[in-house]
Symmetry: C2
Subunit: 339 residues, 2 copies
């Protein structure tokens, strides 16, 4: 178990390729809310990273930047306690990435299990964009750029942090000083929340529940959820594993004991899907209603949200620039002050 | 034949990994002198590129930056007519490189014949640093960053320009406008000048003649030059191919007809190495003496040279930043003005 230290600096972020959904909430947004105010925390809207596999459709990325910021505010991120920054506005990160790329071999990048899985997922084969293969170095720049010490991740992302720490050690050896901190993973408890059909939740599959779903949408999507296809009569025993309704109840129902009891009852037989889904519908409406409301408020003040993003980005620009200055010194690069 | 146009923008540069030598003069410095004043010309001291295969010894790179600038002034580069800039002080280039990396595949980089040859030369095998594999994108950033239209290169570098133009076309298609110009190669006439032992001239092999060689050094090095090992008596016929003395005479003797005559005589027999080497010694002393003098002057004003470099870098920083702004717009990236 990774314990939070008050001096911890947390970095997470999202690629702005679509609206955030309940999967993001269960997997990371809820963690960020829990961390908020307990340590320095930065959320990075990773528009440059999104371009590594969207270079042919950049507008898709640009259009979602503000949406992600709105989603942050909707779930309860408070910009006075959490910094929100836009990656493409932090030029120091590009310079850090270029420097870090000299410290990792192509073979090491290709061996990175996360990169391998992502390359396979996207069907790139040999046509992987160079920027995509290099993104562990870019992520190391993001993490070290704010001197993050704690990075909430799923276990599939652990190899990325390992690679970041390898780079950190190389830099520290080069500087002969502890210039950059190594980072620890904060493993998110919730296993990956499935889409309503049991497959990976994804905007493109249309199987995710958005953070701004209306009551009607919630009802429709919960109603369509995959449960146990062999559980045709209420009196039959039902399967809990792979049952999407239980996955969501486990993730979001505040009464864990009640859910455990329902699971037992379902497995014995005598509990119907309709009753279960009604419960989930209530749980989700309770969760989403305040987000929906805050989202509407935020939508009304888009200019203010843009300002919030610019301010957070300005703060982060200064932080990342200071780190770049240190790393440049480690590489014996001169410092010409801008005339 | 590539003809110079008055609107041409020329970019060349050097990796600051050691003092420049006569090979650089024959291969590129003389071309730059010929272009000087006839079009806009930038010389880039590529310290970041030098780090791609010197990450473990950055001081070696840093120590040679000013030396390269001094060498430029020594050969007659005039900073009022040619801009000298330092790569690591141009942050726009790192951002451009990161954006361009999204437009080239790993397979395409690995297919680049220049990159392949360079990887083999350095014995990297699978341990090639990612930054090294990516350097065609970085070079494309250098070239497009100043909107260069003409790039003096040896024919071994042609694949790099091809790859730059591929990126230019991708950007222009993305922008749906002719945002960036394609570049043409200016092929340097002189074949690669060998080292005094006939191998590739290189600082590490100690077989190159430096631009600041003293008369004594010139004498010693010319005396040690490889000629024709089978040409033991003056009366014997001698070989001109592979004869380093003739390679240097062809490169530097202003009297081409006389050299052609000497070649004929050497091949017939009756011309000794000693006489030839004396001629070359005179030719090189005439060439190098004014460089040596200017180098001494420049050495005395290192602060001034540093200022020259800072001014040229500042001009180039504005140019590259303007190009980056254009390319960012092509990628639909927003523009937060720095607060």
């Amino acid at each position: 178990m990774t314990l939070l230290r008050p001096t911890d600096v947390v970095l997470t972020g999202d690629r702005p390729t679509g609206p955030l959904h309940l999967g993001h909430y269960a997997g990371s947004l809820s963690t960020r809310l829990a961390l908020q105010g307990r340590c320095q925390q930065t959320l990075l809207i990773a528009d440059l990273q999104a371009l590594t596999d969207n270079a042919g459709r950049p507008a898709r990325v640009a259009n979602h930047v503000l949406d992600v910021a709105l989603d942050y505010l909707a779930v309860g991120i408070d910009p006075t306690r959490t910094t929100i920054a836009l990656q493409s506005q932090l030029p120091a990160l590009a310079e850090l990435t270029m420097l870090y790329l000299n410290l990792v071999t192509v073979a090491r990048l290709e061996r990175n299990p996360t990169v391998r899985a992502e390359i396979e997922l996207r069907g790139f084969a040999r046509d992987v964009p160079a920027g995509f293969l290099c993104y562990p170095a870019s992520q190391a720049a993001d993490i070290t750029g704010v001197r993050a010490t704690l990075v909430p991740v799923g276990d599939d992302q652990l190899p990325m942090l390992e690679q970041t720490n390898e780079i950190v050690r190389r830099i520290n050896r080069l500087a002969d000083a502890e210039l950059l901190p190594e980072c620890r993973p904060l493993l998110t408890k919730t296993p990956r929340l499935p889409g309503i059909d049991g497959r990976k939740a994804s905007k493109s599959l249309g199987n995710a529940i958005s953070l701004t779903a209306t009551p009607g949408e919630i009802r429709t999507l919960v109603h369509a959820m995959y449960t146990d296809p062999d559980h045709s009569r209420v009196s039959d025993p039902g399967r809990v594993e792979g049952n999407v309704v239980f996955a969501y109840l486990n993730a979001f129902d505040p009464d864990g004991e009640a859910v455990a009891e329902l699971e037992a009852q379902y497995q014995r037989g005598g509990l119907g899907d309709v009753a279960l889904k009604q419960r989930l519908e209530g749980v989700l409406e309770t969760l989403i209603a305040p987000m929906r409301e805050r989202r509407v408020d935020a939508e009304r003040q888009r200019d203010h949200v843009r300002e919030v993003l610019m301010e957070g980005t300005a703060v982060t620009r200064r932080r990342t620039q200071a780190v770049l200055d240190d790393v440049r010194r480690a590489f014996s690069l001169p410092d010409f002050s801008s005339p």
